[in-house]
Symmetry: C2
Subunit: 341 residues, 2 copies
């Protein structure tokens, strides 16, 4: 193993997109990073991190509470988004699914008047079919995720937060909805009253998740929806305890920029839950678990609040990742920030 | 109901391809036809029959012993071939699957090094996903088949031979193989020693199958593989008993023409089982169940054997269905032949 002794986490070099495994490289500083994330937004930062850090130094702990059963398939939307993004297979328009996808299964399902509200691309189906049949054979989701990643050439570690079934339930003005019903079928239009995670009491993080958090030199909260992507991970009691007791830098990147969510219902849910639509709301939510918080330049005005009222180290930078370069740039800055004493 | 009293089964009119339901038409003679069949060859004749007979007068009893579980899906190859053929969706090149199909799931499955030996088209997957999830919910295959057919606009009755699991097992020089392993994975190259139908002892034909055979004025054996398509249907004791005791015309169309099978392994299996590759072998096999037997013109020489040695009424005609017109032509001749006193 080549582990340079440089104290700097990320030397200021141009990152190479394909890091050779056994050669010193920009990320080969020996610092182990574990990041918590959900789907599209989190996956963008994870991709940036993966360009900078060698495989053995980046572990991604992914929300599985939006997993669901559909047409007899076990679907893990967040795991798939992270995996496809790291494999450079993700659809750049949607952020989820596979690029250059075809939709003939859906077309035929439509002829059958079948349930077409959840869009399943033809290529994407191979993932669901393999995962579902392996689960049916008794393999744990962690093992399956490792296999699928390996087969797609993803070398960084992607871990489901748990192998146990945990399901987000959104209580709304239109009744209690499973997460995908709320998010996809109803396009997050119902008014959210509360959110809970069915099965969370008896779920345990996997050994791999625990080991990764224990070994981490830096823990990152990616800019994912706090209510439905990060909260489920943090609702696993063992994870929350480890994070609260941790002594390593723990940094969150705000998913709220200039009073809006970059994508998805984060801001809308905040309003409906009676919370201020602000990065400070996110920082406050995770205050006891964090040491630092990353704000977008557009929210520069909140730097002082984060620093003095919440006692978190603030970093103000560009957090909207509209290009591959921006993903790498943010990843680099977050890593450098986390490495500061 | 309009039921003309003409004693002739099929008046010599040009068949219309879309028969109005409530108008007298070429097939509206009141004669109820039930046909037994397997996949591609049988489905061609069934399609011809469906152009001549109104929906309520044609029932197709389809082999399900080549059904199997694959990637967590329940696949019913013969039911699908019959359904797609009647829906005018079948792939004209292969005879099975859907026309204008795409193969992106298979391509992605290949990236995962998954099991690609059984080709599943993207559109076709909708059928397997719906059927599998309905089976999982507890609906019987008969109900599911009716639903799928209805949704594809198939108005004639397609019945699985049974709702119970029956599985063809082919004992070969390369060991005991499930039918699809033998047929698709090994491309019917292993030498067949014997064939049996797992689960047949406890399987019952459905009420619908029994009622259809009881109501039938004519029973047809389509030109399907005797060993793996018709034998499983006839191995259901209740069906064999009903056929043996029946007093209505029962006519088989030979799947062997000029010492060859039109398609598939029929002739090869005959040889390997030590049987003569001849239509007479088929006629002999079903002798106690039949009243008539249809030979191709190329096998004219066997007319006498069929008539005198086996005591079956022979019909010699063109049986190779290379066009839609030929399918209708054969269907018409078989129906007219069966209606002869």
């Amino acid at each position: 193993m080549n582990e340079p002794t440089s104290p700097s986490l990320i030397p200021g070099q141009t990152p190479s997109q394909t890091l050779p495994a056994n050669k010193p490289s920009v990320g080969d500083s020996g610092v182990k990073v574990t990041a918590l994330l959900g789907g599209v937004g989190g996956a963008k930062l994870a991709w940036g991190l993966a360009q900078l850090l060698p495989p053995q130094h980046l572990t991604l702990i992914v929300n599985t509470a939006d997993d669901f059963e559909h047409l007899g398939l076990h679907i893990s939307p967040d795991l798939d988004t992270v995996m496809y993004t790291l494999a450079n297979l993700a659809n750049p328009q949607t952020g989820w699914g596979i690029r250059d996808e075809s939709w003939n299964m859906m077309a035929m399902l439509g002829r059958y008047a079948g349930p077409t509200w959840f869009r399943l691309g033809d290529g994407d189906l191979a993932t669901h079919l393999l995962r579902s049949s392996w689960l049916h054979e008794g393999f744990p989701l962690t093992w399956i995720t490792r296999e699928l990643c390996k087969l797609l050439g993803v070398r960084h570690t992607v871990l489901p937060m748990t192998d146990a079934p945990v399901r987000t339930v959104v209580d709304t003005d239109e009744g209690s909805l499973s997460f995908q019903e709320y998010f996809v079928r109803h396009q997050w239009q119902p008014i959210v009253r509360s959110i809970h995670f069915k099965g969370i009491e008896s779920a345990q993080p996997t050994q791999e998740v625990v080991a990764s958090l224990r070994a981490a030199d830096v823990i990152l909260f990616c800019p994912s929806n706090p209510f439905v992507s990060l909260d489920p991970i943090l609702a696993l009691p063992a994870i929350r305890r480890m994070l609260a007791a941790s002594r390593v830098p723990r940094v969150a990147v705000s998913p709220i920029v200039a009073g809006q969510a970059i994508k998805g219902p984060t801001a809308k849910i905040m309003r409906e839950l009676g919370l201020e639509i602000s990065p400070v709301t996110v920082a406050q939510r995770y205050r006891d678990l964090l040491t630092g918080f990353v704000l977008d330049r557009q929210d520069e005005a909140m730097r002082a609040t984060v620093a003095t009222e919440l006692g978190l180290h603030p970093l103000v930078t560009d957090t909207v990742m509209q290009s591959d370069a921006a993903r790498i740039q943010l990843a680099r800055q977050v890593l450098e920030f986390a490495a500061q004493p």
